[in-house]
Symmetry: C2
Subunit: 307 residues, 2 copies
Amino acid sequence: MSVLVVGSVAFDDIASPSGSVKNILGGAATYFALAASYFTDVRVVGVVGGDFGPDQEKVFHQHGIDIRGIERAKGQTFRWGGTYADNLNEAKTDYTDLNVFETFHPQIPSEYEDTDFLFLANIQPTLQANVRRKMKGVRLTGCDTMNYWINRTPKELAETLRLVDLLLINDTEAKMLAGVTNLPRAAQKVLAMGPQALVIKHGEYGATIFFREGAFGIGHHPFRAPALPIEEVKDPTGAGDSFAGGFMGYLASQEELNREVLKRALFYGGVMGSFAVEQFGTERLQSLSREEIDARFQIFRELTHLE
Amino acid sequence: MSVLVVGSVAFDDIASPSGSVKNILGGAATYFALAASYFTDVRVVGVVGGDFGPDQEKVFHQHGIDIRGIERAKGQTFRWGGTYADNLNEAKTDYTDLNVFETFHPQIPSEYEDTDFLFLANIQPTLQANVRRKMKGVRLTGCDTMNYWINRTPKELAETLRLVDLLLINDTEAKMLAGVTNLPRAAQKVLAMGPQALVIKHGEYGATIFFREGAFGIGHHPFRAPALPIEEVKDPTGAGDSFAGGFMGYLASQEELNREVLKRALFYGGVMGSFAVEQFGTERLQSLSREEIDARFQIFRELTHLE
Protein backbone atom coordinates (compact mmCIF):
# COMPACT_ATOMS: atom_id res chain seq x y z
CA MET A 1 0.00 0.00 0.00
CA SER A 2 0.97 3.64 -0.21
CA VAL A 3 1.55 6.43 2.27
CA LEU A 4 1.36 10.14 1.49
CA VAL A 5 3.20 12.69 3.60
CA VAL A 6 2.30 16.38 3.51
CA GLY A 7 4.90 18.66 5.02
CA SER A 8 8.07 20.64 4.70
CA VAL A 9 11.01 20.07 2.38
CA ALA A 10 13.93 22.23 3.45
CA PHE A 11 17.59 23.07 3.38
CA ASP A 12 19.27 23.02 6.78
CA ASP A 13 22.43 24.32 8.39
CA ILE A 14 23.12 22.22 11.48
CA ALA A 15 25.78 22.35 14.17
CA SER A 16 26.19 19.92 17.06
CA PRO A 17 29.06 18.84 19.35
CA SER A 18 29.92 16.26 16.64
CA GLY A 19 30.47 18.82 13.86
CA SER A 20 28.47 20.92 11.44
CA VAL A 21 26.94 20.78 7.96
CA LYS A 22 25.57 23.44 5.66
CA ASN A 23 22.85 23.51 3.04
CA ILE A 24 21.79 19.89 3.39
CA LEU A 25 18.45 18.45 2.37
CA GLY A 26 16.02 18.36 5.28
CA GLY A 27 12.42 19.04 6.24
CA ALA A 28 9.84 16.84 7.98
CA ALA A 29 8.45 15.37 4.74
CA THR A 30 11.94 14.42 3.57
CA TYR A 31 12.86 12.53 6.75
CA PHE A 32 9.45 10.89 6.86
CA ALA A 33 9.53 9.84 3.20
CA LEU A 34 13.03 8.35 3.36
CA ALA A 35 12.24 6.39 6.54
CA ALA A 36 8.91 5.11 5.17
CA SER A 37 10.43 4.20 1.78
CA TYR A 38 12.04 1.06 3.27
CA PHE A 39 8.56 -0.33 3.98
CA THR A 40 6.08 0.87 1.35
CA ASP A 41 5.35 3.20 -1.60
CA VAL A 42 5.71 6.83 -0.56
CA ARG A 43 4.27 10.01 -2.03
CA VAL A 44 5.10 13.56 -1.03
CA VAL A 45 3.17 16.82 -1.12
CA GLY A 46 5.27 19.87 -0.36
CA VAL A 47 6.71 22.99 -1.92
CA VAL A 48 10.24 23.94 -2.98
CA GLY A 49 11.94 26.85 -4.72
CA GLY A 50 14.34 27.19 -7.62
CA ASP A 51 17.24 26.02 -5.43
CA PHE A 52 15.77 22.49 -5.34
CA GLY A 53 17.29 20.73 -8.32
CA PRO A 54 18.36 17.35 -9.74
CA ASP A 55 20.68 16.57 -6.80
CA GLN A 56 17.76 16.76 -4.39
CA GLU A 57 15.33 14.98 -6.72
CA LYS A 58 17.81 12.14 -6.98
CA VAL A 59 17.65 11.50 -3.22
CA PHE A 60 13.92 10.85 -3.48
CA HIS A 61 14.06 8.99 -6.78
CA GLN A 62 16.74 6.61 -5.56
CA HIS A 63 14.29 5.49 -2.91
CA GLY A 64 11.39 5.18 -5.33
CA ILE A 65 9.60 8.12 -3.69
CA ASP A 66 6.95 9.79 -5.83
CA ILE A 67 7.51 13.57 -5.72
CA ARG A 68 4.97 14.63 -8.32
CA GLY A 69 3.19 16.35 -5.44
CA ILE A 70 6.15 18.61 -4.69
CA GLU A 71 5.19 22.00 -6.10
CA ARG A 72 7.88 24.19 -7.66
CA ALA A 73 7.31 27.79 -6.62
CA LYS A 74 9.15 30.97 -7.44
CA GLY A 75 11.73 31.84 -4.81
CA GLN A 76 13.84 29.92 -2.34
CA THR A 77 13.06 26.69 -0.49
CA PHE A 78 12.37 26.81 3.26
CA ARG A 79 15.69 27.19 5.12
CA TRP A 80 16.46 26.45 8.75
CA GLY A 81 19.60 26.76 10.81
CA GLY A 82 19.97 25.18 14.24
CA THR A 83 22.60 24.43 16.87
CA TYR A 84 22.54 21.63 19.42
CA ALA A 85 24.39 22.07 22.70
CA ASP A 86 25.79 19.28 24.83
CA ASN A 87 22.57 17.64 25.98
CA LEU A 88 21.21 17.40 22.39
CA ASN A 89 17.63 17.49 23.60
CA GLU A 90 16.70 20.80 22.06
CA ALA A 91 18.00 22.81 19.13
CA LYS A 92 18.62 26.53 19.39
CA THR A 93 17.15 27.91 16.16
CA ASP A 94 19.70 30.18 14.52
CA TYR A 95 17.32 31.30 11.77
CA THR A 96 14.11 30.26 10.01
CA ASP A 97 13.51 31.50 6.46
CA LEU A 98 10.09 30.20 5.48
CA ASN A 99 10.47 31.45 1.88
CA VAL A 100 8.08 29.54 -0.45
CA PHE A 101 6.76 27.57 2.55
CA GLU A 102 5.12 30.72 3.94
CA THR A 103 2.27 30.57 1.41
CA PHE A 104 2.15 26.78 1.09
CA HIS A 105 -1.32 25.50 0.21
CA PRO A 106 -1.07 21.76 -0.26
CA GLN A 107 -2.38 20.57 -3.64
CA ILE A 108 -3.08 16.87 -4.01
CA PRO A 109 -2.30 15.51 -7.50
CA SER A 110 -5.13 13.39 -8.87
CA GLU A 111 -2.68 10.45 -9.08
CA TYR A 112 -2.51 10.52 -5.26
CA GLU A 113 -6.25 10.17 -4.67
CA ASP A 114 -6.03 6.42 -4.15
CA THR A 115 -3.55 6.78 -1.27
CA ASP A 116 -4.21 4.41 1.65
CA PHE A 117 -2.32 6.06 4.50
CA LEU A 118 -1.91 9.78 5.09
CA PHE A 119 0.57 11.56 7.33
CA LEU A 120 0.10 15.23 8.10
CA ALA A 121 3.51 16.45 9.20
CA ASN A 122 3.82 19.50 11.40
CA ILE A 123 2.15 22.35 9.44
CA GLN A 124 -0.61 24.86 10.24
CA PRO A 125 -3.61 22.82 11.54
CA THR A 126 -6.17 24.25 9.10
CA LEU A 127 -3.98 23.16 6.19
CA GLN A 128 -3.80 19.70 7.77
CA ALA A 129 -7.60 19.59 8.10
CA ASN A 130 -8.10 20.68 4.50
CA VAL A 131 -5.84 17.91 3.20
CA ARG A 132 -7.60 15.36 5.37
CA ARG A 133 -10.98 16.41 4.00
CA LYS A 134 -9.79 16.12 0.41
CA MET A 135 -8.39 12.61 0.94
CA LYS A 136 -11.71 10.89 1.41
CA GLY A 137 -10.50 7.37 0.66
CA VAL A 138 -7.65 7.04 3.17
CA ARG A 139 -7.75 4.13 5.59
CA LEU A 140 -5.80 5.86 8.33
CA THR A 141 -4.48 9.36 8.98
CA GLY A 142 -1.57 10.18 11.23
CA CYS A 143 -0.75 13.69 12.38
CA ASP A 144 2.03 15.67 14.03
CA THR A 145 1.92 19.12 15.60
CA MET A 146 4.06 21.32 17.84
CA ASN A 147 3.98 23.77 20.74
CA TYR A 148 3.61 26.72 18.38
CA TRP A 149 0.22 25.49 17.06
CA ILE A 150 -0.89 24.20 20.48
CA ASN A 151 -0.44 27.71 21.89
CA ARG A 152 -1.36 29.89 18.89
CA THR A 153 -4.16 28.01 17.12
CA PRO A 154 -5.86 25.75 19.68
CA LYS A 155 -9.29 25.97 17.99
CA GLU A 156 -7.94 25.07 14.57
CA LEU A 157 -5.89 22.24 16.07
CA ALA A 158 -8.93 20.87 17.92
CA GLU A 159 -10.77 20.76 14.58
CA THR A 160 -7.88 18.84 12.97
CA LEU A 161 -7.71 16.37 15.88
CA ARG A 162 -11.34 15.41 15.26
CA LEU A 163 -10.37 14.33 11.73
CA VAL A 164 -7.31 12.16 12.39
CA ASP A 165 -6.86 8.58 13.65
CA LEU A 166 -3.42 8.86 15.17
CA LEU A 167 -1.49 11.72 16.74
CA LEU A 168 2.30 11.47 17.19
CA ILE A 169 3.80 14.03 19.56
CA ASN A 170 6.37 14.20 22.36
CA ASP A 171 5.89 14.35 26.15
CA THR A 172 6.07 18.12 26.41
CA GLU A 173 3.59 18.60 23.60
CA ALA A 174 1.17 16.04 25.03
CA LYS A 175 1.24 17.65 28.48
CA MET A 176 0.82 21.12 26.99
CA LEU A 177 -2.03 20.05 24.73
CA ALA A 178 -3.86 18.38 27.63
CA GLY A 179 -2.97 20.97 30.23
CA VAL A 180 -1.96 18.29 32.74
CA THR A 181 1.46 17.06 33.81
CA ASN A 182 0.70 13.38 34.44
CA LEU A 183 1.44 11.42 31.25
CA PRO A 184 -1.37 8.80 31.20
CA ARG A 185 -3.90 11.44 32.23
CA ALA A 186 -2.64 13.78 29.50
CA ALA A 187 -3.02 10.89 27.06
CA GLN A 188 -6.65 10.33 28.06
CA LYS A 189 -7.44 14.01 27.60
CA VAL A 190 -5.80 14.12 24.17
CA LEU A 191 -7.63 10.96 23.06
CA ALA A 192 -10.90 12.58 24.11
CA MET A 193 -10.14 15.31 21.53
CA GLY A 194 -10.51 12.88 18.66
CA PRO A 195 -7.73 10.47 17.73
CA GLN A 196 -8.15 6.72 18.19
CA ALA A 197 -4.57 6.38 19.31
CA LEU A 198 -1.83 8.65 20.60
CA VAL A 199 1.88 7.97 20.24
CA ILE A 200 3.93 9.88 22.79
CA LYS A 201 7.63 9.99 21.99
CA HIS A 202 10.00 10.04 24.99
CA GLY A 203 13.25 10.77 23.12
CA GLU A 204 16.02 8.53 24.45
CA TYR A 205 13.49 6.57 26.55
CA GLY A 206 11.35 5.30 23.68
CA ALA A 207 7.68 5.85 23.02
CA THR A 208 4.27 4.83 24.35
CA ILE A 209 1.09 4.29 22.36
CA PHE A 210 -2.19 4.96 24.19
CA PHE A 211 -5.55 3.82 22.76
CA ARG A 212 -9.13 4.93 23.10
CA GLU A 213 -11.37 2.21 24.51
CA GLY A 214 -12.09 -0.09 21.57
CA ALA A 215 -9.76 1.71 19.14
CA PHE A 216 -9.13 -0.41 16.02
CA GLY A 217 -10.99 -3.20 17.81
CA ILE A 218 -7.96 -3.95 19.97
CA GLY A 219 -8.75 -2.81 23.51
CA HIS A 220 -7.07 0.03 25.32
CA HIS A 221 -3.95 -1.10 27.18
CA PRO A 222 -0.98 1.10 26.35
CA PHE A 223 2.15 -0.34 24.78
CA ARG A 224 5.70 0.91 25.17
CA ALA A 225 8.73 0.53 22.88
CA PRO A 226 12.26 1.28 24.05
CA ALA A 227 14.85 3.48 22.42
CA LEU A 228 18.36 2.23 21.92
CA PRO A 229 21.06 3.76 24.15
CA ILE A 230 23.22 5.49 21.50
CA GLU A 231 26.77 6.50 22.36
CA GLU A 232 27.08 9.28 19.82
CA VAL A 233 24.03 11.20 18.71
CA LYS A 234 25.50 13.31 15.90
CA ASP A 235 22.37 15.18 14.88
CA PRO A 236 18.89 14.76 16.40
CA THR A 237 17.23 16.72 13.56
CA GLY A 238 14.42 14.74 11.97
CA ALA A 239 14.40 11.96 14.57
CA GLY A 240 10.69 12.45 15.24
CA ASP A 241 9.80 12.54 11.54
CA SER A 242 11.92 9.45 10.90
CA PHE A 243 10.09 7.76 13.78
CA ALA A 244 6.77 8.69 12.15
CA GLY A 245 8.00 7.43 8.77
CA GLY A 246 9.02 4.07 10.19
CA PHE A 247 5.79 3.80 12.16
CA MET A 248 3.40 4.77 9.33
CA GLY A 249 5.48 3.03 6.66
CA TYR A 250 5.36 -0.25 8.54
CA LEU A 251 1.60 0.08 9.14
CA ALA A 252 1.07 0.71 5.40
CA SER A 253 3.06 -2.42 4.59
CA GLN A 254 0.70 -4.67 6.57
CA GLU A 255 -2.58 -6.19 5.42
CA GLU A 256 -4.30 -5.84 8.75
CA LEU A 257 -4.24 -3.26 11.53
CA ASN A 258 -4.18 -5.27 14.76
CA ARG A 259 -2.49 -4.84 18.12
CA GLU A 260 0.60 -6.83 17.19
CA VAL A 261 1.07 -4.75 14.01
CA LEU A 262 0.76 -1.48 15.95
CA LYS A 263 3.29 -2.76 18.49
CA ARG A 264 5.76 -3.66 15.77
CA ALA A 265 5.15 -0.30 14.11
CA LEU A 266 6.13 1.44 17.36
CA PHE A 267 9.37 -0.55 17.43
CA TYR A 268 10.09 0.26 13.75
CA GLY A 269 9.49 3.93 14.53
CA GLY A 270 12.16 3.78 17.21
CA VAL A 271 14.49 1.90 14.88
CA MET A 272 14.26 4.54 12.15
CA GLY A 273 14.69 7.35 14.68
CA SER A 274 17.80 5.64 16.03
CA PHE A 275 19.35 5.46 12.56
CA ALA A 276 18.48 9.07 11.74
CA VAL A 277 20.53 10.53 14.61
CA GLU A 278 23.70 8.56 13.81
CA GLN A 279 24.72 10.89 10.99
CA PHE A 280 24.00 14.50 10.05
CA GLY A 281 20.80 15.20 8.16
CA THR A 282 19.35 12.35 6.13
CA GLU A 283 22.73 10.74 5.39
CA ARG A 284 22.11 7.55 7.37
CA LEU A 285 18.50 7.23 6.17
CA GLN A 286 19.73 7.37 2.58
CA SER A 287 22.15 4.49 2.89
CA LEU A 288 20.18 1.83 4.78
CA SER A 289 19.09 -1.64 3.74
CA ARG A 290 16.04 -3.48 4.94
CA GLU A 291 18.37 -6.12 6.40
CA GLU A 292 20.09 -3.50 8.58
CA ILE A 293 16.70 -2.23 9.68
CA ASP A 294 15.47 -5.68 10.63
CA ALA A 295 18.72 -6.47 12.43
CA ARG A 296 18.25 -3.36 14.56
CA PHE A 297 14.62 -4.26 15.11
CA GLN A 298 15.89 -7.49 16.69
CA ILE A 299 18.27 -5.51 18.91
CA PHE A 300 15.35 -3.33 20.04
CA ARG A 301 13.31 -6.44 20.72
CA GLU A 302 16.13 -8.09 22.70
CA LEU A 303 16.53 -4.90 24.71
CA THR A 304 13.26 -5.50 26.58
CA HIS A 305 12.30 -9.07 25.76
CA LEU A 306 11.68 -11.55 28.56
CA GLU A 307 11.66 -15.21 27.59
CA MET B 1 18.56 -16.99 50.46
CA SER B 2 18.81 -13.80 52.51
CA VAL B 3 19.40 -10.16 51.78
CA LEU B 4 20.72 -7.61 54.25
CA VAL B 5 20.03 -3.91 53.84
CA VAL B 6 22.04 -1.27 55.64
CA GLY B 7 20.50 2.18 55.66
CA SER B 8 18.12 4.67 57.20
CA VAL B 9 14.96 4.04 59.17
CA ALA B 10 13.02 7.26 59.56
CA PHE B 11 9.83 9.11 60.34
CA ASP B 12 8.55 11.27 57.50
CA ASP B 13 6.14 14.16 57.01
CA ILE B 14 5.10 14.19 53.37
CA ALA B 15 2.87 16.48 51.31
CA SER B 16 1.95 16.03 47.65
CA PRO B 17 -0.88 17.23 45.38
CA SER B 18 -2.78 14.10 46.54
CA GLY B 19 -2.71 14.99 50.25
CA SER B 20 -0.37 14.86 53.21
CA VAL B 21 0.70 12.56 56.03
CA LYS B 22 2.66 13.12 59.22
CA ASN B 23 4.99 11.03 61.31
CA ILE B 24 4.84 7.90 59.14
CA LEU B 25 7.43 5.16 59.03
CA GLY B 26 9.96 5.71 56.24
CA GLY B 27 13.65 5.54 55.42
CA ALA B 28 15.51 3.77 52.61
CA ALA B 29 16.04 0.54 54.59
CA THR B 30 12.34 0.35 55.46
CA TYR B 31 11.15 0.67 51.84
CA PHE B 32 13.84 -1.73 50.65
CA ALA B 33 13.08 -4.32 53.34
CA LEU B 34 9.31 -4.32 52.76
CA ALA B 35 9.72 -4.61 48.97
CA ALA B 36 12.31 -7.41 49.26
CA SER B 37 10.28 -9.29 51.87
CA TYR B 38 7.89 -10.59 49.18
CA PHE B 39 10.77 -12.50 47.61
CA THR B 40 13.25 -13.62 50.25
CA ASP B 41 14.42 -13.40 53.88
CA VAL B 42 15.36 -9.86 54.79
CA ARG B 43 17.62 -8.48 57.49
CA VAL B 44 18.09 -4.84 58.44
CA VAL B 45 20.96 -2.88 59.94
CA GLY B 46 20.07 0.67 60.97
CA VAL B 47 19.57 2.92 63.95
CA VAL B 48 16.47 4.30 65.65
CA GLY B 49 15.66 6.37 68.73
CA GLY B 50 13.25 6.01 71.60
CA ASP B 51 10.34 7.08 69.39
CA PHE B 52 10.59 3.78 67.48
CA GLY B 53 8.29 1.40 69.31
CA PRO B 54 6.06 -1.66 69.00
CA ASP B 55 3.90 -0.10 66.25
CA GLN B 56 6.92 0.28 64.02
CA GLU B 57 8.40 -3.09 64.96
CA LYS B 58 5.13 -4.72 64.00
CA VAL B 59 5.40 -3.45 60.42
CA PHE B 60 8.68 -5.32 60.02
CA HIS B 61 7.64 -8.41 61.98
CA GLN B 62 4.44 -8.85 59.97
CA HIS B 63 6.64 -9.27 56.90
CA GLY B 64 9.03 -11.64 58.62
CA ILE B 65 11.83 -9.06 58.47
CA ASP B 66 14.68 -9.62 60.91
CA ILE B 67 15.40 -6.33 62.71
CA ARG B 68 17.88 -7.59 65.27
CA GLY B 69 20.38 -5.36 63.45
CA ILE B 70 18.41 -2.18 64.17
CA GLU B 71 20.29 -0.45 66.97
CA ARG B 72 18.33 1.46 69.64
CA ALA B 73 20.14 4.69 70.44
CA LYS B 74 19.38 7.48 72.86
CA GLY B 75 17.47 10.30 71.22
CA GLN B 76 15.09 10.65 68.33
CA THR B 77 14.93 8.67 65.08
CA PHE B 78 15.98 10.36 61.81
CA ARG B 79 13.15 12.64 60.66
CA TRP B 80 12.51 14.08 57.22
CA GLY B 81 9.84 16.37 55.84
CA GLY B 82 9.29 16.89 52.13
CA THR B 83 6.80 18.43 49.72
CA TYR B 84 6.17 17.38 46.12
CA ALA B 85 4.87 19.94 43.65
CA ASP B 86 2.85 19.18 40.54
CA ASN B 87 5.46 17.35 38.49
CA LEU B 88 6.34 14.98 41.37
CA ASN B 89 9.84 14.44 40.07
CA GLU B 90 11.64 16.07 42.94
CA ALA B 91 10.81 16.70 46.56
CA LYS B 92 11.45 20.02 48.22
CA THR B 93 13.00 19.10 51.55
CA ASP B 94 11.20 20.97 54.32
CA TYR B 95 13.56 19.77 57.03
CA THR B 96 16.08 17.02 57.78
CA ASP B 97 16.72 16.09 61.41
CA LEU B 98 19.43 13.45 61.35
CA ASN B 99 19.15 12.82 65.11
CA VAL B 100 20.56 9.37 66.00
CA PHE B 101 21.45 8.79 62.31
CA GLU B 102 24.14 11.48 62.50
CA THR B 103 26.53 9.21 64.39
CA PHE B 104 25.37 5.93 62.81
CA HIS B 105 28.12 3.33 62.66
CA PRO B 106 26.64 0.15 61.24
CA GLN B 107 27.16 -2.88 63.49
CA ILE B 108 26.60 -6.29 61.93
CA PRO B 109 25.10 -8.85 64.36
CA SER B 110 26.94 -12.16 64.29
CA GLU B 111 23.66 -13.83 63.22
CA TYR B 112 23.87 -11.85 59.96
CA GLU B 113 27.32 -13.08 58.95
CA ASP B 114 25.96 -15.81 56.68
CA THR B 115 24.00 -13.28 54.59
CA ASP B 116 24.12 -13.98 50.82
CA PHE B 117 23.13 -10.64 49.34
CA LEU B 118 24.01 -7.20 50.67
CA PHE B 119 22.46 -3.86 49.80
CA LEU B 120 24.16 -0.68 50.89
CA ALA B 121 21.45 1.98 50.82
CA ASN B 122 22.35 5.62 50.45
CA ILE B 123 24.67 6.42 53.38
CA GLN B 124 28.15 7.92 53.68
CA PRO B 125 30.44 5.94 51.29
CA THR B 126 33.08 5.06 53.88
CA LEU B 127 30.41 3.48 56.09
CA GLN B 128 29.26 1.51 53.03
CA ALA B 129 32.82 0.34 52.35
CA ASN B 130 33.32 -0.69 55.99
CA VAL B 131 30.18 -2.84 55.95
CA ARG B 132 31.20 -4.42 52.66
CA ARG B 133 34.62 -5.34 54.06
CA LYS B 134 33.06 -6.93 57.14
CA MET B 135 30.64 -9.06 55.11
CA LYS B 136 33.26 -11.32 53.56
CA GLY B 137 30.91 -14.13 52.59
CA VAL B 138 28.34 -12.25 50.49
CA ARG B 139 27.70 -13.46 46.97
CA LEU B 140 26.68 -10.07 45.60
CA THR B 141 26.64 -6.50 46.86
CA GLY B 142 24.37 -3.76 45.56
CA CYS B 143 24.85 -0.11 46.36
CA ASP B 144 23.02 3.21 46.11
CA THR B 145 24.40 6.72 46.43
CA MET B 146 23.30 10.32 45.74
CA ASN B 147 24.45 13.68 44.41
CA TYR B 148 25.54 14.79 47.87
CA TRP B 149 28.20 12.05 48.12
CA ILE B 150 29.16 12.29 44.44
CA ASN B 151 30.02 15.97 44.97
CA ARG B 152 31.30 15.97 48.55
CA THR B 153 33.16 12.67 48.94
CA PRO B 154 34.26 11.54 45.47
CA LYS B 155 37.39 9.76 46.76
CA GLU B 156 35.51 7.81 49.40
CA LEU B 157 32.80 6.93 46.88
CA ALA B 158 35.38 5.72 44.35
CA GLU B 159 36.77 3.39 47.02
CA THR B 160 33.28 2.01 47.73
CA LEU B 161 32.59 1.47 44.03
CA ARG B 162 35.63 -0.78 43.79
CA LEU B 163 34.05 -3.06 46.40
CA VAL B 164 30.51 -3.50 45.03
CA ASP B 165 29.05 -5.62 42.23
CA LEU B 166 26.04 -3.52 41.34
CA LEU B 167 25.29 0.18 41.54
CA LEU B 168 21.70 1.44 41.36
CA ILE B 169 21.33 5.18 40.69
CA ASN B 170 19.22 7.51 38.55
CA ASP B 171 20.06 9.33 35.28
CA THR B 172 21.13 12.57 36.93
CA GLU B 173 23.38 10.76 39.40
CA ALA B 174 24.95 8.60 36.67
CA LYS B 175 25.72 11.61 34.48
CA MET B 176 27.11 13.55 37.43
CA LEU B 177 29.24 10.63 38.62
CA ALA B 178 30.68 10.09 35.13
CA GLY B 179 30.91 13.77 34.20
CA VAL B 180 29.32 13.15 30.80
CA THR B 181 25.79 13.80 29.57
CA ASN B 182 25.37 10.88 27.17
CA LEU B 183 23.76 7.99 29.04
CA PRO B 184 25.53 4.93 27.57
CA ARG B 185 28.87 6.74 27.74
CA ALA B 186 28.19 7.70 31.34
CA ALA B 187 27.38 4.05 32.01
CA GLN B 188 30.71 2.90 30.56
CA LYS B 189 32.61 5.39 32.70
CA VAL B 190 30.80 4.33 35.88
CA LEU B 191 31.38 0.65 35.13
CA ALA B 192 35.09 1.39 34.73
CA MET B 193 35.03 2.59 38.38
CA GLY B 194 34.33 -0.91 39.65
CA PRO B 195 30.83 -2.39 39.52
CA GLN B 196 30.06 -5.33 37.26
CA ALA B 197 26.68 -3.89 36.42
CA LEU B 198 24.96 -0.53 36.66
CA VAL B 199 21.22 -0.04 36.95
CA ILE B 200 20.14 3.43 35.85
CA LYS B 201 16.62 4.34 36.92
CA HIS B 202 14.68 6.61 34.56
CA GLY B 203 11.68 7.35 36.82
CA GLU B 204 8.46 7.10 34.80
CA TYR B 205 10.39 5.72 31.81
CA GLY B 206 11.73 2.59 33.49
CA ALA B 207 15.32 1.50 34.01
CA THR B 208 18.31 0.20 32.06
CA ILE B 209 20.96 -2.24 33.25
CA PHE B 210 24.41 -1.88 31.70
CA PHE B 211 27.06 -4.59 32.09
CA ARG B 212 30.83 -4.69 32.02
CA GLU B 213 32.17 -6.94 29.29
CA GLY B 214 31.84 -10.46 30.64
CA ALA B 215 30.01 -9.45 33.83
CA PHE B 216 28.47 -12.47 35.56
CA GLY B 217 29.47 -14.46 32.48
CA ILE B 218 26.57 -13.04 30.49
CA GLY B 219 27.99 -10.65 27.91
CA HIS B 220 27.51 -6.92 27.87
CA HIS B 221 24.35 -5.90 25.98
CA PRO B 222 22.20 -3.55 28.04
CA PHE B 223 18.65 -4.46 28.97
CA ARG B 224 15.75 -2.10 29.57
CA ALA B 225 12.57 -2.54 31.61
CA PRO B 226 9.61 -0.20 31.28
CA ALA B 227 7.73 1.64 34.00
CA LEU B 228 3.98 1.52 34.13
CA PRO B 229 2.15 4.73 33.18
CA ILE B 230 0.44 5.54 36.51
CA GLU B 231 -2.50 7.93 36.58
CA GLU B 232 -2.12 9.03 40.16
CA VAL B 233 1.29 9.07 41.80
CA LYS B 234 0.34 9.90 45.38
CA ASP B 235 3.80 9.89 46.91
CA PRO B 236 7.08 9.16 45.09
CA THR B 237 9.03 8.82 48.36
CA GLY B 238 10.87 5.51 48.52
CA ALA B 239 10.22 4.52 44.90
CA GLY B 240 13.93 4.04 44.24
CA ASP B 241 14.47 2.02 47.43
CA SER B 242 11.41 -0.11 46.66
CA PHE B 243 12.84 -0.67 43.17
CA ALA B 244 16.12 -1.79 44.75
CA GLY B 245 14.23 -4.06 47.18
CA GLY B 246 12.31 -5.76 44.38
CA PHE B 247 15.46 -6.07 42.27
CA MET B 248 17.75 -7.46 45.00
CA GLY B 249 14.98 -9.49 46.63
CA TYR B 250 14.21 -11.26 43.38
CA LEU B 251 17.92 -11.93 42.73
CA ALA B 252 18.27 -13.41 46.20
CA SER B 253 15.31 -15.71 45.56
CA GLN B 254 16.97 -17.33 42.53
CA GLU B 255 19.45 -20.19 42.50
CA GLU B 256 21.49 -18.86 39.62
CA LEU B 257 22.52 -15.39 38.48
CA ASN B 258 22.11 -15.40 34.71
CA ARG B 259 20.96 -12.86 32.14
CA GLU B 260 17.31 -13.91 32.26
CA VAL B 261 17.27 -13.64 36.06
CA LEU B 262 18.80 -10.15 35.95
CA LYS B 263 16.22 -9.10 33.34
CA ARG B 264 13.36 -10.35 35.48
CA ALA B 265 14.88 -8.65 38.52
CA LEU B 266 14.83 -5.34 36.63
CA PHE B 267 11.13 -5.84 35.88
CA TYR B 268 10.39 -6.76 39.53
CA GLY B 269 12.23 -3.61 40.60
CA GLY B 270 9.90 -1.54 38.42
CA VAL B 271 6.88 -3.44 39.73
CA MET B 272 7.72 -2.71 43.38
CA GLY B 273 8.46 0.95 42.58
CA SER B 274 5.09 1.24 40.85
CA PHE B 275 3.26 -0.11 43.92
CA ALA B 276 5.18 2.13 46.32
CA VAL B 277 3.99 5.38 44.72
CA GLU B 278 0.29 4.43 44.74
CA GLN B 279 -0.16 5.29 48.43
CA PHE B 280 1.62 7.52 50.91
CA GLY B 281 4.68 6.11 52.64
CA THR B 282 4.94 2.34 52.86
CA GLU B 283 1.15 1.78 53.01
CA ARG B 284 0.87 -0.04 49.68
CA LEU B 285 4.06 -2.05 50.26
CA GLN B 286 2.63 -3.30 53.56
CA SER B 287 -0.57 -4.68 52.07
CA LEU B 288 0.60 -6.56 48.97
CA SER B 289 0.40 -10.23 48.09
CA ARG B 290 2.80 -12.15 45.88
CA GLU B 291 -0.14 -12.79 43.52
CA GLU B 292 -0.72 -9.06 43.04
CA ILE B 293 3.00 -8.60 42.43
CA ASP B 294 3.11 -11.34 39.80
CA ALA B 295 -0.05 -10.02 38.13
CA ARG B 296 1.60 -6.63 37.77
CA PHE B 297 4.78 -8.28 36.53
CA GLN B 298 2.67 -9.70 33.69
CA ILE B 299 1.28 -6.23 32.94
CA PHE B 300 4.83 -4.87 32.78
CA ARG B 301 5.78 -7.72 30.49
CA GLU B 302 2.78 -7.18 28.20
CA LEU B 303 3.62 -3.49 28.06
CA THR B 304 6.66 -4.11 25.87
CA HIS B 305 6.33 -7.72 24.74
CA LEU B 306 6.36 -8.56 21.02
CA GLU B 307 5.09 -12.00 20.06
